[in-house]
Amino acid sequence: MIPFLEILLALPFVLALVVALARGLPRGATAWLAGLAPLLGLVLLAWMTPSVLQGWNVRADYAWIPQIGMSFTLRLDGLAWMFAGLVLAIGALVVMYAHYYLSAKDSAPRFFACLLLFMGSMLGVVLAGNLLLLVVFWELTSISSFLLIGFWSHRQDAREGARMALAITGAGGLALLGGVLLIGRIVGSHDLDVVLASGDLIRASGLYPWALALVLAGVFTKSAQFPLHFWLPHAMAAPTPVSAYLHSATMVKAGVFLLARLHPALAGTDLFFYVVTSVGALTLLIGAWYAIFQHDLKGLLAYSTISHLGLITLLFGISTPMAVVAGVFHILNHATFKASLFMAAGIIDHETGTRDMRRLGNLRRYLPWTSALAITASLAMAGIPLLNGFLSKEMFFAEALDIGGHRAMRDVITVAALLYGVFGVAYSLRFVYETFFGEGPRALDVTPHEPPRWMKIPVEVLVVLCVAVGVVPAWTIAPVLHAGAGAILGDTMPEYSLAVWHGINRPLLMSLAGIAGGIALYFGLRRLFDLHAIVRRSLGRSVFRWNMEALYGLAGRFTDRIANGSLQRSLLFLLLAAIAAGAAPFVGGDAAPLQWHGSQPMPLLGWLLWLVLVACAVWTIRLYRQRLLAVIVLGGAGLMVSLAFVFLSAPDLALTQLMVEMVSLVLLLLGLHYLPPRSPPERTPRRRLRDIAVALAAGLGTGTLAYLVMTRPGDTISGELLARSLPEAYGSNVVNVILVDFRGFDTFGEITVFGIAALIVHALLRRARMAPEKIMSGPPITLPVPADLAQIMFPLTLTVSVFLFLRGHNAPGGGFIAGLVLAVPLLVQYVIQGAASVESRFGFDYVRCIGVGLLVAGVSGVASMGFGVPFLTSGHLDLDLPVIGKVPLASAIGFDTGVYLVVFGGAMLILSMMGTIKPSRTRVSHLGIMEPGERSNRTGELR
């Protein structure tokens, strides 16, 4: 079994890819490659025709996302067959036409690739047997038409038209998605067959209005129904082959296709009737009326397209079987005459260099054959007998007069139909008269002549079809129409006869009246007004633009105002969110009341130290603008925190805090050298008050939560940690045991963070040249006495470092503290002796020191994996050495060695990098602002 359907669908996509990639080919070859898709497709379609005409659906089914009922289902019934044929046939003609139309500057591969992509998407829409799949292809048509409309991307109107089309049809697609999902919820399946069989279920559902509204939103946007019609005229900025394709057989027809497709499932309610018919009728009239006043050939055709689509929509809205037949029929007819008209307009544009009817005229002299073709097609558009447009128009009139049950609506529609006839004739007449007759052409740069032979062939084919269908409908179009309408109507397919002559009846009279009225209208208008002077601005476009501008404006204002790039705002909102989150559980009606517990008594000494701590914190705030002072006072707070740790049983913490305190102080001062010494005053007191309020709220909240937690009885796993520390982890300093054993993994991460911080500092300062806030005059000072004393200190501090490191497992200390104890004295050497002096004596590569440390820590953790136990499992060994005796060895010491190295290397890397920043050659004044002439050098990078 050959997968015909799959091949049929895949052809355009594959060839699109081929065309896009085959860059070096001659243009002709490219066109042939592109044409291969519709031609082969037509062959395949012809192959499948017998089974379709016999009423069998050809199906192909592939699972895609079965969980949500999305499958790759293709399904060829009569309607799909008809549309596919239309898409492919006109596609083939458009490819041919385009080959001659495109100029040498236009990229043929790009054009044909986009066109084929579009063709494939369109085929997908008509072949989809799963509604979700249909939506997929639906949106693909939006995207590919966007590319086609914007093909001449250097033109602003093309870009805008493309964006407009994408916005409107894309939005419609999203609505359609919603509608399809709703239908899926109602029916429980997205399979088209199931959905079409569940019409009653859908119409009975409470969700039906929503589903209908959403689907119709998709339909109306795509088929350019009022009031969302305005994208279509602007899509005329596309190259003419694109217009011919999009506006005759494909893009806009996708909308009415869907209306036809889902007709069995959605139609048949008053809601459907009223909404669809009224939208259709309005569109019909508005499109036709505006078409009369267009000066651009393509503009006129575009509005006429809108009008005809309104007609088709109206017919599907009427929903009687005959109306449906008429709708399908008009789809076919419109496609043929509109495609040919666009192509003719393109030829005129091509040959004269303009499409403006105010400059054209009398072209039958220059392009006789093209004129004849275009005039014929125009007459078909006007619905002149013996041409195809007449037949479907007459069917429409018949149906309009025949609407049962909705009397008012019938009258309205009848009047609309009559007006449609009148307007249609009027704009067709204008098209014909002002282009091919009368005076002109005016101010052309070239003398127009007939285009190349092959360029006219597509037009000829289409015009011949118009005539053939118009004269002998039963022999030409009847089977197609039957297949198409039959797929929609199923058993309710009515009996009808396709003939030119049904005797003199009311529809015929309406037609004649329309023709007469149209002629009268056109010439009447010409006499009353100077048609050429009427410049119609597209209201829809203005509204759209205005809406878009409003949206952009709103977006811009919102975004600028909210995310204004201010750190203070970010932090403020973070704090506010935190305050809200922390307070939320305690406010509100059903919040549990707070349970307060008593506090342990506090000795006087405690309050003394508390006072010192609090005073330091408060004075840091008071003095913060004088930064050096703030740093000093802050140091007092840090010391007090350490002391708090001391009194509250945390010697390790106290040690660490002390060490970090010292190093941080150095760090801040090293940094302060390159920053202004003072903060400028605050701008507004209001801002300050706000900040104070936030700070107080945060402080109060944190303090309260902390109090509530502290005073609650606790229940932790730490008892077990204490109990198992010595027997299983061989350490009596439980905090250290936790650090290197129980939670050694945390420490691992922690030293990684530390190492990375050092590497960042290194990366940021390695080559930076920065202007210090103030350069002191004279050579660096020498401090011989402190240098000498510090030198005595150094070996002793080394000894202490080793001591702290080795003892850490059983007493306060450990790798981290020891590492800092090693680093800080070395830092003192930097301060007292100067960087150059120290670095010339100690050739450390601190970066590698970090690397080695991490490796040592890692390897000592990995070692245990060799014994079949997890990473970081500690081992223990009692070495029995001569003389020395028992030496307890815990494998954790290996890990701690890594910590030691990383901390030492990291701390030294940070401090030495900060200490040895290369001053910029530019000097700064005491205000810290550079002189104008020196700015060029400010980037801080070495050249």
């Binding site: 004088q626 050096l628 002072l629 005059s777 004393l789 200190m793």
Partner: protein, 123 residues
Amino acid sequence: MSWVFAILLVMLLAIGSFFILVGSFSLVKLSDFFKRLHGPTKASTLGVGCVLIASVGYHALGGTDPQPRELLITAFLFITAPISAHLMAKAALSLHMAERPPMPSGEPPQPVEAVDDAAGRDA
């Protein structure tokens, strides 16, 4: 622990804390930085020294720590306190050029610049 040792320890503690207090008190009381600079040396020598000796004795008697390790603290203090004092004095001198005595040889004082923002007295 015998009363003798206890009273000895108490005396050491009393002397120590007295001198620490006096050291800090002089910080508050005296009117000029260089005068105040003399305060902490009292605290770090006799003050802390006495406390440390008391600590040595106390731990030795209590058996909690037989080694006189606190002596190391004193050793370090004796090395570091002069460094601190020396540098603080130098810093202060650089801020108060007027108070700086002329060099004995009669040459003008070394032009030591001070960091102007450091001289700032808070408002």
